[in-house]
Amino acid sequence: MSSNHNHAASREVSKRHKVEGPQKHIVGFILSLALTIIAFAAVAAGEINETFTYIILVAMAVVQVIIQMAFWMHMKDRGHLFPIIGIIAGVFVVITMVIMALYWVWW
């Protein structure tokens, strides 16, 4: 799709350029869609054990978010060390807080 790019830019650019095509994003979209549908279906079915449903839901959400961040937000690209550190640090703080909220309610 993008290989017919006749720009005078350096070869290096066109090399990296190849990686980016709509296919990748559409794959990401279909994956996200599938994960979302699984999550909704798991709830709509309503037959499954409650704890197990929670696990499915959280797993689907986490996988979907990782896919979106890696592909759509370009986090898998080079030069994203500090963004990754930043997001992980934020997630770390959030996990401690969420554990706090749950622990303190259920204990």
């Binding site: 500090f82 930043g86 640090a89 770390f92 703080v93 401690t96 807080m97 706090m100 303190w104 204990w107």
Partner: protein, 617 residues
């Protein structure tokens, strides 16, 4: 210095307008310094009144309600409006110079950060004039701070003032993280960063990840107070303990936000005046990162008596104690930096050396407090008051004094008077220990904190008197410091590039004060202690990493001030339930954001021929 002519169509201001529109990190640093000192004096005055009220049993200088207002405003002002801005002053004045940068990553945001902080702080302190002052403690525990038990506007001032000031702090944190990551001079790798830059980097990260929690907490309490939400209203399913958690999830990292920069200052000052490389640099970096990391997992040690149960109390006890290890590493590294050195006693180094044992005393009481069962006795007594003043005043404020005396010539081109400086040190230092040492025992003998008075004959009387005397001595020390500023202000600006002669990092390679563009040519860094390394090899200047050329500068802008005023107005609108005013204020702010986005700032250039006259304050 007056704006000079050049071929670019950029408006440059002078006088007051220059200060209101500046995006120069050095000037913003000075603005932070002035604002920080201003609020420091207000907070100090509140402290003196508190101590005078407690000078003897059943004193009645102020009433219980006024006393609660004083302690609330003293705590809030000192932490958010004095300590943090003074740190931001040092950060702004020094970090870009230490990393060989011409400015911070976001000069506009830097200015915005200052003005939101300042107007937020102003809003908070206007409560004294509005006659309804926040009085639920700086922690604002609900339900006392909720709409039922604080029905006036007092706590609203706290909530909205901190919310606005918090925006500024968050922007500052992001700015300095980005600056340190992206703007380092060539060759200045992370493991060559001066210790002060490292601590500011970590502090900024703590700001970025801790302040949003406060933002949400304040939003929740604001919704409860202004829009009848039920976050903390027990009758409707809310829970007050949630506020405690949210507050301390922010509040504990906040303590490290305050103390880490002081660690950085002390490292720089001790190393300079011992004429010796910082001992165990890499373990210092590691310890800093570890303290920051652990800092997020210990918040519940402020809540041992809340009733979280033995499992939580046990875990948080252990986690808290662990922090003593990296802190201990730092203490011994400082001592061994001094060991074998050639120690010169200047005001800055005396503050730094005084810091070490004082901070150790504050640190060990911290470990004592970490032991939950013993904390059932210490909690919310004067023991805790003594502990955190040892850490914050004995740690942070001594660090700030050390930093100010040390970098004063770099900020203003003048040396502070050493005799007055040493007088400041001794009065402040002795006053400090007098004030707070006895408070440990007051707490153990059964005196709770935040009491506006106490009955006689309980064994509290003498120690409270000693404490008050000490507080007055600290006040005198502060006044001497101000005198020093005024007296030296009249002196000529004659500080050399490296006025202490033993400077080690890049800020000492350029003139004092630094020119507008900091570095005529970006320096090439060849190792840790870049400037010291060059000096030892007999060089008189850094190797430049680029030829002399035209220097790009950001344009000044009044928008940050207007945006902050917008938030200020919106704050009052929300507080007094005039949603139109609130909407107008927010519209001003958002409108300025749009203007900033629409009209790109192309900045201007300082051409090589203009660069030598570009020196300015």
């Amino acid at each position: 210095m007056a704006a000079h002519a050049h071929g670019h169509k950029v408006k440059r201001y002078s006088g007051l307008m220059d200060w209101l529109t500046t995006v120069d990190h050095k000037k913003i640093g000075i603005l932070y310094l002035i604002a920080g000192l201003f609020f420091f004096l207000i907070g100090g005055l509140e402290a003196i009144i508190i101590r005078i009220q407690l000078i003897k049993p059943m004193n009645d200088v102020v009433s219980g309600s006024t006393f609660n207002e004083l302690i609330t405003m003293h705590g809030t002002t000192m932490i958010f409006l004095a300590a943090m801005p003074l740190l931001f002053a040092l950060m702004n004045a020094i970090i870009p110079l230490q990393i060989g940068a011409r400015d911070v990553a976001f000069p506009f945001l830097n200015s915005l950060g200052f003005w939101t902080f300042f107007l937020g702080g102003l809003l908070l302190n206007l409560s004294w004039f509005a006659g309804t002052v926040p009085d639920a403690g700086w922690t604002s525990y609900v339900p006392l701070a909720g709409p039922i038990y604080s029905s006036g506007h007092g706590v609203d001032f706290y909530v909205i003032g901190l919310q606005i000031a918090g925006i500024g702090t968050l922007l500052g944190g992001i700015n300095f993280m980005a600056t340190i990551i992206n703007m380092r001079a060539p060759g200045l790798t992370f493991m060559r960063l001066p210790m002060f830059t490292w601590t500011i980097f970590i502090t900024s990260a703590l700001i970025v990840f801790a302040f949003p929690a406060l933002t949400v907490g304040l939003v929740a309490i604001m919704f409860d107070r202004l829009f009848n939400a039920n976050f903390f209203d027990v009758a409707n399913g809310g829970n007050g303990v949630l506020w405690e958690h949210i507050f301390w999830v922010f509040g504990h990292p906040e303590v490290y936000i305050l103390i880490l920069p002081a660690f950085g200052v002390i490292s720089e000052v001790i190393s300079t005046f011992a004429r010796k490389r910082l001992f165990g640099y890499s373990s210092m970096v590691f310890a800093t990162v570890l303290i920051a990391f652990l800092g997020f997992m210990v918040w519940a040690h402020h809540m041992f008596t809340t009733g979280l149960g033995p499992v939580a109390n046990g875990l948080f006890s252990i986690a808290t104690m662990l922090i003593a290890v990296p802190t201990g590493i730092k203490i011994f590294n400082w001592l061994f930096t001094l060991w074998g050195g050639s120690i010169r006693f200047t005001t800055a180094s005396m503050f730094a050396i005084g810091f070490v044992p004082t901070f150790v005393m504050g640190g060990v009481t911290g470990v004592m407090l970490a032991s939950a069962p013993a904390d059932y006795q210490y909690h919310d007594t004067y023991f805790v008051v003594a502990h955190f003043h040892y850490v914050i005043v004995g740690g942070l404020v001594l660090g700030i004094f050390a930093g100010l005396h040390y970098w004063w010539p770099k900020m203003f081109g003048r040396m502070l008077n050493e005799t007055l400086g040493k007088l400041t040190f001794w009065t402040f230092f002795i006053g400090f220990h007098l004030t707070f040492f006895v408070q440990h025992f007051l707490g153990l003998l059964g005196m709770p904190r935040r009491v506006y008075t106490y009955l006689g004959g309980q064994g509290f009387d003498n120690m409270n008197l000693i404490s008050t005397v000490g507080a007055i001595l600290m006040g005198i020390g502060t006044i001497v410091f101000l005198l020093n500023i005024f007296i030296t202000w009249a002196k000529p600006r004659n500080a050399s590039n490296d006025p202490w002669e033993d400077g080690r990092s890049l800020e000492w390679t350029i003139s004092s004060p630094a020119p507008e563009y900091n570095f005529k040519q970006t320096p090439l860094v060849r190792g840790y202690d870049a400037w010291w390394k060059e000096k030892m090899e007999g060089n008189t200047a850094m190797t430049p990493a680029e030829p002399v050329g035209s220097i790009h500068m950001p344009s000044p802008s009044i928008l940050p001030l207007i945006m902050s005023i917008g938030l200020f107005v919106a704050g009052f609108g929300f507080m007094y339930d005039k949603l139109i005013v609130a909407g107008l204020g927010l519209a001003i702010t958002l409108g300025c954001m749009a203007i900033r986005s629409l009209f790109d700032d192309h900045g201007f250039h300082i051409e090589p021929e203009d660069q030598d006259e570009g020196v300015q304050a």
